[in-house]
């Protein structure tokens, strides 16, 4: 996968120093292929995204999301096939129930729901992938470092 770094045009010093870390869980068949397409199509997108390939968004356990936050992710993205297009028939339908519910729980806990994003990006949507990453990176930059877990990372007690 190739991600061509877009040059940051931010003139604000603070903004240029903060590079959000975004962990993305992508389904193998649609979004991962879409990201791949973005790469082979030489579409640029911010390099802040770190991808975990999964067979399907249905494989995304909320544990993964929390663990990513715990480990220092500023944002988590889950991206998969559009509804109806799941390679496994219904994995994304299950994800579409489970993960937004989890997001509402996070929100209830006081974790900004915007820190957990979901998208549907098909294998042919290299352009959309590039756009999604650009958009959420901009959002993550705007939201700033996610410090809830950072602060308790080395918590002794």
């Amino acid at each position: 996968m190739e991600a061509i770094q877009t040059t940051s045009t931010a003139d604000d010093d603070e903004q240029t120093t903060f590079e959000p870390r975004i962990v993305a869980f992508l389904c193998n068949w649609c979004s991962y292929a879409g990201a791949d397409l973005a790469g082979t199509s030489r579409l640029g997108y911010p390099p802040n995204i770190r991808i975990v390939k999964l067979p399907c968004t249905g494989r995304v356990d909320p544990l993964f999301i929390l663990k990513a936050f715990e480990r220092g992710a500023d944002m988590v993205l889950v991206s998969g096939c559009h509804p109806g297009d799941c390679h496994y028939t219904s994995g994304n339908y299950h994800a579409r129930r489970k993960l937004p519910t989890f997001r509402s729980l996070l929100e209830f806990m006081g974790i900004d729901p915007r820190r957990f994003q979901m998208s549907w990006v098909s294998a042919a949507q290299g352009g959309k992938w590039s756009q999604v990453v650009a958009d959420i990176t901009a959002l993550a930059t705007e939201l700033g470092p996610f410090e809830y877990f950072e602060r308790i990372r080395d918590n002794r007690n």
């Binding site: 870390r21 999964l54 067979p55 220092g72 992710a73 096939c81 390679h87 028939t89 299950h94 294998a123």
Partner: protein, 605 residues
């Protein structure tokens, strides 16, 4: 099964057969007028009389209506019969002297001029009632009937008015022995011509038809929507006529379930509808056609028999066949109609248009020797073997004038289609008065491609072309195991490419199905029997029904517990079950919790 004697020949006929049938079975010809195979006989015209002897008594009977009784002795040739027929024809000729059919029959029986005269001569109708019977008893509509008695008797519509009862099927006209019926007298709107889809609707077909000459299987099908039998319950003419008894109206479309080891998807393409270019007027101006319509025209088996005519001038025969038209002397071909149009249409190149357009110009030249062809093009893309040479030949032989530029507008003027375009090489505006404009419309996937893809669980791109597993390394496979692609359903492809891909797909499919043992994907789920709670929440989540129950027994065979089990042959490894399992007792090989944990762990230092 009665047995009777016809002209001293014994014959056994089917129950319900008529004497006429028996005679025919003996190879004897009996003239008829009011008889039609598909219509119940009435013995109205009495041309078909024969002598029949039963219980010692000999009479003249109408063979078309008289039942073939057991022991009946029939004589089809005799003076008495001849006299009777002559008399009948004399009378008919007197009534219908102009009818060619009657004249012909009269000649055969040696009747020259009738001895009788009638007031209202020159009728064609012989009052045989065949049309009334066909309409009532066969079509089942009853749109025509007899009216009046004796001299004033005539065949009319009820109240002599055009009625909606008539469905305009034209059966009456077909059966009329004297050809005196024009269905237009019964109904203002006749049954619509059924456009022949294979010929792009240029000509028509019947409601029972063979879809196209090379159809597989090459057998007729009934178009239920248009078939009179399915509309009124009547007709059934085709069933009566078919000597093989192959027509079965009861036959239903069936869903058959087949278990297969592989599927090759070859659903092909269709043309982008150029009506989307309003400025080209496709659909409004008959002389603006698509390349496929042109292709049908130049085909020897096509609607025009290989002649190129301007569609606005098509001449049809009674059967709806095109028999003539005006040859287009100036023909303009427009390429890239819908292709390579990022904004409103399709951004991709349709791949095949350059080559077939070059071919079309050549065929056009063959068909219309002194015609003039122009081609509007963006580029000429001819990257196949010998393709470039072919295009050069077209240019060299001047079969067409290539104009690099796009067409801005097409409109009719003085019976011509005016084509406004640009020649970007010379920088000039071009105006051509064309007789025919052929649009090389973009290639798009067949309608229903998305539905099919969703059924098969194969991917498709934003243009609805199916996705191959890998553009370079797995071009004929899909991401779903056992499903392969060939041809234009995957992307615009020409014939050699399609054939090559189809061969590859076939080989791949065979490679899959000929094996005795299969390798399954290593990425499947497995259940930890020790920790499984047997809640079976995973079961409904599995789209493949791969989760079953497993009984755990101790050494003595006592049931200890039941746990979930994954059938690795069915499992596709999506992992939805693993997430549903709260105790994390299901792992997906290759995407185990431990592996994913390590990945997440390492991603954010």
């Amino acid at each position: 099964m009665p047995t009777l004697t016809v002209n001293r020949q014994e014959i056994e006929v089917a129950d319900g057969a008529t004497v006429l049938d028996a005679a025919k079975a003996c190879g004897l010809e009996i003239p008829t007028l009011c008889h039609h195979r598909g219509v119940p006989s009435a013995g109205a015209c009495r041309i078909c009389v024969v002598e029949a002897t039963s219980r010692g008594r000999t009479r003249l009977i109408a063979s078309c209506a008289y039942p073939a009784e057991e022991g009946l002795v029939v004589q089809t040739e005799s003076e008495r019969i001849k006299r009777s027929r002559k008399m009948t024809l004399e009378l008919l000729l007197a009534r219908c002297p102009e009818s060619e059919r009657i004249q012909e029959m009269a000649r055969e029986l040696g009747v020259d001029t009738p001895r009788f005269k009638t007031e209202n001569r020159n009728q064609k109708c012989i009052m045989c009632g065949l049309c009334v019977r066909v309409c009532n008893q066969v079509i089942g509509v009853g749109a025509v009937c007899f009216s009046g008695r004796g001299q004033t008797r005539e065949v009319v519509t009820p109240y002599k008015e055009l009625s909606d009862v008539c469905i305009g099927c034209g059966a009456c006209a077909v059966v009329c022995p004297t050809g005196c019926i024009d269905p237009a007298e019964f109904r203002d709107k006749l049954l619509e011509r059924i456009p022949n889809e294979f010929n792009c609707g240029f000509d028509s077909r019947r409601s029972i038809y063979v879809p196209f000459p090379q159809a597989v299987p090459n057998k007729p099908v009934i178009d239920r929507e248009n078939c009179i039998h399915f509309r009124t319950g009547g007709c059934g003419a085709c069933a009566q006529i078919c000597p093989a008894g192959a027509i079965d109206y009861e036959a239903e479309d069936e869903f058959t379930e087949e278990k297969v080891g592989a599927i090759v998807v070859t659903t092909g393409y269709q043309l982008y509808n150029p009506a989307a270019y309003e400025e080209y007027g496709y659909g409004r101006y008959p002389d603006v056609v698509t390349s496929l319509e042109f292709e049908r025209m130049v085909s020897a088996s096509g609607p025009t028999g290989g002649n190129v005519y301007r569609p606005s001038t098509f001449e049809y025969d009674d059967d709806g066949k095109i028999v003539g038209g005006e040859k287009p002397m100036v023909c303009v071909f427009v390429k890239c109609v819908g292709s390579r149009e990022e904004v409103k249409h399709k951004p991709y190149c349709s791949n095949i248009c350059c080559m077939y357009t070059a071919k079309h110009t050549m065929l056009y030249e063959h068909k219309v020797h002194d015609g003039q062809a122009f081609v509007f093009y963006m580029d000429v893309r001819a990257p196949g073997k010998n393709y470039e040479q072919f295009v050069r030949r077209v240019a060299k032989e001047k079969t067409a004038t290539y104009i690099r530029g796009r067409v801005a507008k097409i409109f009719p003027r003085n019976g011509k289609m005016v084509v406004w375009g640009a020649d970007t090489l010379s920088g000039n505006q071009v105006e051509i008065d064309a007789d025919l404009v052929v649009l090389a419309a973009a290639v798009v996937p067949s309608s229903g491609a998305v539905d099919l893809a969703q059924k098969l669980r194969i991917g498709y791109d934003e243009h609805e072309f199916f996705n191959e597993a890998h553009p370079k390394l797995r071009p004929v496979e899909t991401n779903t195991a056992g499903i392969f692609l060939a041809g234009a359903c995957q992307a615009p492809r020409d014939i050699p490419e399609t054939v090559a891909q189809a061969s590859g797909a076939a080989a791949k499919a065979l490679g899959l199905v000929v094996r005795d043992e299969y390798e399954r994907e290593p990425i499947v789920a497995c259940v930890d029997e020790n920790t499984c709670n047997a809640c079976f929440n995973c079961e409904p989540v599995c789209a493949y029904g791969a989760i079953g129950e497993k009984e755990i027994r101790d050494r003595k065979g006592n049931l200890v517990k039941i746990v979930a089990e994954v059938n690795p042959g069915l499992c596709q490894g999506c992992g939805a079950c693993a997430v549903t399992c709260r105790s994390n007792s299901i792992e997906v090989e290759g995407f185990t919790d431990a592996e994913l944990y390590a990945e997440i762990d390492a991603l954010v230092p």
